[in-house]
């Protein structure tokens, strides 16, 4: 994650569910109790950058019971039924509805806690969806030939649905594939004029 990268900054702004492990005075307003102490056990959604900080920082104290302020869970975008749906039908899940920064978010979460199954599933998902993206990009870039393999690329319909559901990483992939095809076509045209 680089310092100035917009994607990274936006990802860190996503909220994830946190559970406070200690009583914290004066933060009651986070739980709709303004002026009160925030009780241990309260669940609040905090932006990732803050949740990370609070989860790492221990609340001080000299005994061996130093707890961190907060324990966090995976964001709703990465909950189990989404992951299972991706395992079953990766092309049918509109990732963007879960989060525009789906993969970026997942990567950051996996940095913070071990999630081997998630890692494998997402990698497979990413590759499968990428193949589909390439097909669409080629069609839309005008590179379609007579032998294009049949897939569910409807005119509009299923195709548009799929493209609408791409997250940021996938959109960038699409743009790269599309630009490549387009540049190829442009070069072919230009070759006639010398």
């Amino acid at each position: 994650m680089s310092y100035y990268d917009i994607d990274s900054i936006l990802t860190d702004a996503e909220k994830i569910p946190c559970t406070f492990q200690l009583d914290v005075p004066e933060l009651g307003y986070l739980d709709n109790n303004p002026g009160q102490t925030l009780k241990a056990g309260a669940r609040v959604a905090l932006p990732l950058w803050l949740a990370e900080l609070l989860a790492i920082t221990s609340a001080g104290g000299s005994d061996d019971q130093t707890k961190s302020y907060v324990a966090f869970d995976l964001p709703p975008a990465l909950r189990n039924d989404v992951v299972q749906a991706l395992k079953a039908e990766p092309l049918a899940v509109p990732l963007r509805d879960q989060s525009a920064h789906f993969y970026s978010l997942a990567t950051h979460m996996m940095d913070l806690s071990e999630e081997p199954e998630l890692s494998t599933t997402l990698r497979k998902t990413f590759v499968k969806r990428a193949a589909e993206i390439a097909l669409h990009a080629r069609k839309l870039g005008g590179g379609a030939g007579k032998g294009d393999e049949g897939s569910n690329l409807g005119v509009g319909g299923a195709g548009e649905e799929f493209l609408r559901g791409l997250d940021e990483w996938e959109r960038r992939l699409f743009r790269k594939a599309h630009d490549g095809t387009k540049a190829g076509k442009e070069w072919m045209e230009k070759i006639k004029k010398y």
Partner: protein, 221 residues
């Protein structure tokens, strides 16, 4: 490491590759490499650039002389010379611009250690230093000086993220093998080692490709 010297010892009648052709190949390879690698590569050794620049200058002078001479016979030769000259100039310019782009993007990084600074030519070093200084002054006068002093640094590393941007050295690249070689590539689940043949094209991480490129066993494509 000059292969011509070794081969010359072994077989003196060997049909040698002339210096100009080698220079063009080296320049071309340097250009492709610089356009493809995620980080700034070393400035070419062996005076390659100085030689090419001198040759270009001399050729330009020759063109000027020939242009004065209106003999139709030399006219076509002039066109050929000028065409080739433009091609050389394009290569050189594109190469330098590719390097400048990388220097611009990660200036603080390339200026940060002696080893990295050694990759830049003298002119590039002067440019990078001056450019960075200008930029810094601009930031200071625009907004930086109104930050609390502790937050004015452009290169601190508090909070787990370095402010100085690094190029991603693990990016994937395409290489072509120039000789049969064992290639090791690191991956997520396994690391592979495989014997590839000359002219094979392989995708692997830049950090794995770098030793092959530097030793001349492969080139970027």
């Amino acid at each position: 490491m000059d292969i011509d010297d070794i081969l010359r010892e072994v077989d003196p009648t060997l049909h040698e590759v002339p210096q100009e052709k080698r220079d063009l190949q080296d320049l071309t390879r340097a250009w492709v490499a610089e356009r493809s690698a995620p980080e700034l590569l070393n400035w070419p050794s062996g005076e390659l650039f100085e030689r090419i620049n001198d040759n270009i200058k001399r050729q330009i002078e020759r063109v000027e002389e020939m242009t004065g001479d209106m003999d139709p016979k030399t006219n076509f030769a002039l066109i050929v010379i000028q065409t080739e000259l433009e091609r050389f100039k394009y290569l050189v310019r594109s190469y330098l611009r590719a390097r400048l782009a990388k220097i611009d993007r990660h200036a603080l990084h390339y200026l940060s250690t002696d080893e990295l600074r050694a990759r830049l030519s003298d002119m590039e070093l002067a440019y990078a230093t001056r450019h960075q200084a200008l930029l810094h002054n601009h930031y200071l006068s625009s907004f930086l000086s109104s930050f609390p002093p502790a937050l004015q640094n452009l290169n601190d590393t508090a909070g787990n993220i370095a402010m100085v941007d690094l190029p991603d050295l693990e990016s994937a690249v395409f290489i072509r093998l120039l000789a049969d070689s064992m290639v090791s590539g690191r991956g997520v689940d396994t690391d592979n080692t495989f014997e590839f043949q000359e002219s094979d094209i392989v995708i692997l991480r830049w950090s794995d490709a770098k030793p092959l490129i530097e030793s001349g066993r492969a080139e970027l494509v």
